[in-house]
């Protein structure tokens, strides 16, 4: 544990002997902090540049501050035309048109908004719920707490109850959606709360819920959630929530256990450090310690994983679109642009290719940034 020997900024014995160091020595750390972002590689800057560009385009397209044309306007003369298309390129339209004759640039720009909204939203949801649960689980792993286990059990039980009994009640017993959800929710709350109180073991409770969720293949779980939330016209049920929100919830819920386990693991190691006990020995409350002492230490790891997860969520949005449960047309997203025109792959490859290329580059950029962030925070952690 004598890492200070390796640390060139450690004042070591000099300071211990009571020597006052010249101001320049302390200022050296200031310069180091600035250089942390000054020595990023070219690749990192390209990745940052790309993400800024895509996000900017998405916001401009959505807010109509600067548009690339109407994504819904049909230009019949341009249909199926584009670079490398069988019918030839479309004059005046750089990326060509889709099979209905809608301008690809306009659709891709607005599609960026939808895809990014879904993926960022889903990961934000996954992080708030999964990260929060993981933090609580990790922190309380060596501290039995009946009230907290009861609350955690109740919340999780209610969520499971709504989904499970919602399906059974609505489909099997013919109850109305709302009633089934309320019964499931109250039942789950009571059962979860009771069992949580009995055991008082928050960690085991939450970890097992994660394990149950992870035991269902991610894509099947997402598909089931979307199908459940969207309802179907045949069964006479209608979605209450807008499309994008449904996708955010579905992908977000799938992300909860993945993120939660990482957050739990990180919180577990940090919670066993002496400074947590020291804070306790100073009279700090559990909640305060979790938020102010543990969370800031867990956050860097979470941030780097969030970048990687957003990349996965973008792909997941595309996958769900191809499976027919994505954002419903006419609103464009990168996923449903591919899904709608996948039949035209051989005659007008540019449609699928352009959307796939955007997904590819964006995922690459996010992965790269995630790695850069992780490497940077690892260095910082080892310096302590």
């Amino acid at each position: 544990m004598r890492r200070e020997e390796l640390d060139p900024h450690s004042d070591g014995l000099m300071a211990d002997a009571g020597l006052v160091l010249p101001a320049g020595v302390a200022a050296g750390t200031e310069g180091e902090r600035k250089s942390r972002f000054g020595d990023l590689s070219v690749g990192a800057w390209l990745a940052i540049g790309w993400m800024v560009f895509v996000i900017l385009v998405a916001i401009l397209a959505k807010t109509h501050i600067f548009t690339w044309g109407d994504p819904q306007a049909v230009h019949a003369e341009c249909a199926r035309k584009g670079p490398f298309a069988q019918d030839g390129s479309a004059p005046g339209r750089l990326f060509g048109c889709d099979s209905d004759g809608r301008d690809m640039v306009a659709r891709l720009a607005l599609g960026a908004w939808t895809s990014l909204l879904v993926s960022f939203g889903a990961i934000a949801f996954g992080f708030i719920v999964g990260g929060g649960l993981g933090l609580v689980a990790g922190y309380f792993s060596d501290k039995p707490s009946r009230p907290i286990a009861a609350v955690a059990g109740g919340v999780i039980g209610a969520a499971f109850g709504v989904v499970a009994f919602g399906v059974i009640g609505a489909v099997g017993l013919g109850l109305s959606d709302g009633l089934a959800a309320v019964i499931g929710g109250v039942g789950g709350l009571a059962a979860g709360g009771y069992f949580g109180y009995q055991r008082g073991d928050v960690d085991t409770l939450i970890t097992n819920v994660f394990n149950v969720m992870l035991s269902v293949p991610a894509i099947v779980l997402a598909l089931a959630l979307v199908a459940f939330l969207q309802g179907s016209e045949a069964a006479g049920t209608k979605a209450i929530l807008p499309d994008v929100l449904i996708l955010i919830l579905a992908i977000g819920i799938v992300a909860v256990p993945l993120v939660g386990r990482i957050s739990r693991g990180s919180a577990l190691t940090w919670s066993q450090r002496d400074f947590v006990l020291a804070a306790r020995a100073q009279g700090a409350q559990h909640g305060r310690i979790m938020v102010r002492e543990v969370l800031p230490n867990v956050a860097p790891a979470m941030f780097s994983i969030s970048l990687l997860s957003i990349a996965i969520a973008i792909v997941a949005e595309g996958t769900l679109a191809i499976l027919g449960v994505g954002v419903r047309p006419p609103a464009p997203s990168w996923g449903n642009i591919i899904a709608l025109d996948r039949n035209a792959l051989f005659t007008s490859p540019h449609i699928v290719f352009e959307a796939s290329f955007l997904i590819f580059v964006t995922v690459l950029a996010l992965n790269y940034l995630g790695d850069v962030v992780r490497a940077r925070f690892d260095v910082r952690e080892s310096g302590i």
Binding site: M1, D16, A26, F275, A278, A279, P296
Partner: protein
Amino acid sequence: MTTARFIETEYEGPLLEVTDLKTSFHTDVGVVRAVDGVSLTLERGKTLGIVGESGSGKTVLSRSIMNLLPRFGLEREGSVKFEGKEIIELPPRQMRNFWGAQMSMIFQDPMTSLNPVMKIGKQITESIRQHLDVTREFSSDLAVSLMESVRIPEPKVRLGEYPHQLSGGMRQRVCIAVALAAGPKLLFADEPTTALDVTVQAQVLDVIAKEQSERFMAMILVTHDLGVVAGRTEEILVMYAGRVVEQAPTSVLFTDMKMPYTEALLASIPKLDEHSHTRLATIPGRPPDLSHPPPGCKFAPRCRYVQDRCLEEEPPLQAGDASGHQYRCWFPVGTPAGQEALARNERDGRVPAAATAAAAAGGA
């Protein structure tokens, strides 16, 4: 909560009274009795040293008194009275009023007992603002004066820095400042110098001693090093396998020790007047497995004075000649019985069981 500490109870008795404290952990391998019937009394402003090797239960004892142990499988029995008030049964919610404001703790490793992503100043003021109803300006002024009193140069600059920018000794002094921030009456120092360079150890101990006398604060100094407690404590409690094996005022302990374990601990400190290359004295073997302690005296398997009786019957804590001196031994050091036991062992060639085991392991 903030007003509680200003209502001074006019309690005349000792600050801390621990009676027959037992602390055990229920684990998969059985019940581990980490602290087994420890009693101690501490007056205001006094210092008690707790000495013992790793695994003797000294850290668990101090955390058990503060009720800071992880609660899974934990069982505590006995009585802990702070200013005459029984606190062993208090739930953590009520113990929070004691933590920091009444009793506080300094930990062994300053590398891990400070939060790496929180500025020093914040870590000190957190505790002040938790317990005292004061303004932000007042608490930061208090933090500066605390930093000055633990002899950290340029306190204002240091308050804005992170722990990794400080050296080990400085960090431990910051830990002391954090522990003292809310003005506790009792300070637990759990091996406060073990992780530090020898040159820094004395400085840190001096800072603690200075603060202690200025604040008239009682202290329990936990260490494995008899040298650390020698000049700094009024009373010393030697622990082995979760029990008190000897307890005496400091001067009595060093001049008239009765327990062979204390003698062995003292003998294992290298002395300056010995020739260089003198073989260091060690205690053979290791402390017993606390989930399955041996019958009889717990130290018997490692003891030079060991007799058959030691292996069968556990000696009770008995009073020594000086007042306040207690020990747990059938054949005490420096008594005719002890001399005789040692002489008999030398004559018969009897060595402690742990020594033969260690020799066999070393030879194999």
